[in-house]
């Protein structure tokens, strides 16, 4: 668990730094896709903690309201983790479905939070103009990111099987 947490923290750190300094677009959400992949592979608890960490990093790097992204990504990580632990297990479409759903849900959540905090919340711009593009691009990004995460976080059953191999002679 500790090794998984350290790997998740490192991976999300890289994703956040790339998002704010290299990608420079809000249409692709690399930390969210990375978080969903980690949570799907390692469950709700690690998903929630990883989401909080990623959100804290994002708010710090962009000098935004602390806790804003943490709240959204904690919920996103927890939900994706639960989905992975229950219905999503062993389903090939699970990463893509969860990323699409979580992209839509975090967008709506961010819209509501901005509204509650009395900040600009342009619903039409966000929900009609950018959300469909963001869902498509995030789903497209899922394939390489989930592939990388699966290498870093191999399934426990597979790790167990390897552990049972004995060398004879």
């Amino acid at each position: 668990m500790t090794a998984d947490a350290a790997k998740a923290a490192g991976l999300l750190f890289v994703a956040v730094v790339l998002q704010v300094s290299a990608l420079w677009t809000s249409l692709v959400d690399l930390p969210l896709v990375t978080l969903a992949s980690i949570a799907l592979l390692r469950g709700s608890m690690l998903g929630a903690f990883a989401g909080f960490w990623a959100g804290l990093l994002l708010d710090t790097a962009t000098l935004g309201t602390l806790g804003f992204s943490s709240l959204l990504l904690t919920l996103a990580g927890f939900w994706t983790g639960r989905y992975g632990e229950t219905t999503g297990r062993d389903r090939g479409h699970a990463p893509f479905t969860s990323v699409a759903v979580i992209t839509a849900l975090t967008t709506v959540g961010a819209l509501v939070l901005h509204y509650l905090l009395g900040e600009a919340a342009p619903a039409r711009l966000v929900l009609v103009d950018t959300l469909p593009k963001e869902v498509v691009l995030n789903v497209a990004l899922t394939l390489p990111v989930y592939g990388l995460c699966r290498r870093l976080f191999p399934s426990r059953e597979a790790a167990g099987r390897i552990g049972e191999v004995r060398l004879l002679g």
Partner: protein
């Protein structure tokens, strides 16, 4: 979740967390700069190849523009000399003017807020460098926005395309065409030159600049007069609206900002 809610409350209601956030942001800065440096060649290559598509037609247009501007420059030079002479004669008292009444602090853009709600960037200069909140931010191309949060070594800048940025602006050709430049619809970089009376004439291709504080009212504009904003791309009006509908293409490309200048009034430095 509770920790997140507590952080939101503390961060939103007070500045208590600002020093910690500033220190953490400073710790992140080397990584952000490294990522920006690594990705810059790729972004530049993308920009270069997309510019190449329009290079031929743009070259012809610019050659024509150079011819026009050369003759215009001669006329302008004469007008400037006349203006300076008349100002001296009248002992004219003017509001702070750009760029002579401002010091420019050049700084690197280190992050962009990854959100479609906020069009904001983070720059690597803060209060320790003399920046304050509300200071205007420009590039050589024109107006970028204003500082909205200033920490010790970083600041957050709201771009012109941000929902909450409004700038008093004027048509360079006609000083009576005063209005407010704000973000356009649809998430594009196009801006809207709003609240311009129907009675004044604004033509496509005219340049819009910051208006400063023409009336010297109780709430002076945050931006000095004369900073370029953009060029008018379409003008329309109908019977229902009481103002013209003017669209402006900004001179600054907000998606490819590497470094900016923050304008600090010389009066504050003294």
């Amino acid at each position: 979740m509770l920790v997140s809610l507590a952080l939101i409350t503390a961060s939103f209601r007070s500045d208590a967390l600002d020093p910690a956030q500033s220190a953490a942001a400073s710790a992140l800065r080397p990584f952000e700069i490294a990522a920006e440096r690594v990705s810059r060649p790729f972004r530049d290559a993308w920009g270069w190849s997309s510019d190449l598509v329009h290079a031929r037609s743009e070259n012809e247009r610019l050659r024509k523009q150079i011819d026009q501007l050369q003759s215009q420059a001669v006329t302008d030079q004469t007008s400037i000399q006349d203006l300076e002479r008349l100002k001296r004669l009248l002992a004219y008292r003017d509001s702070p003017r750009f760029p002579q009444d401002f010091d420019a602090i050049a700084t690197r853009v280190i992050a962009q807020a990854p959100s479609r709600f906020e069009q904001q960037i983070v720059v690597a200069a803060g209060t320790a460098d003399g920046l304050h909140e509300d200071d205007p931010v420009v590039t050589q191309a024109g107006l970028v926005g204003q500082v909205t949060r200033a920490f010790a070594h970083e600041s957050r800048v709201a771009l012109l395309t941000d929902d909450q940025t409004n700038v008093a602006a004027v048509d360079l050709k006609d000083a009576s065409a005063i209005g407010i430049v704000r973000h356009g619809e649809g998430g594009s970089e196009a801006l809207v030159f709003d609240r311009v009376a129907k009675t004044v004439e604004v033509l496509k291709g005219e340049v819009v600049v910051t208006a400063g504080s023409p009336g010297n009212g109780r709430l002076p504009s945050l931006y000095p007069r004369g900073i370029k904003i953009g060029v008018v791309t379409s003008v329309g009006q109908n019977d229902l609206d009481i103002f013209k509908q003017i669209q402006v293409q900004p001179f600054v490309s907000f998606s490819s900002l590497h470094s900016v200048l923050v304008l600090v009034p010389k009066s504050r430095v003294r």
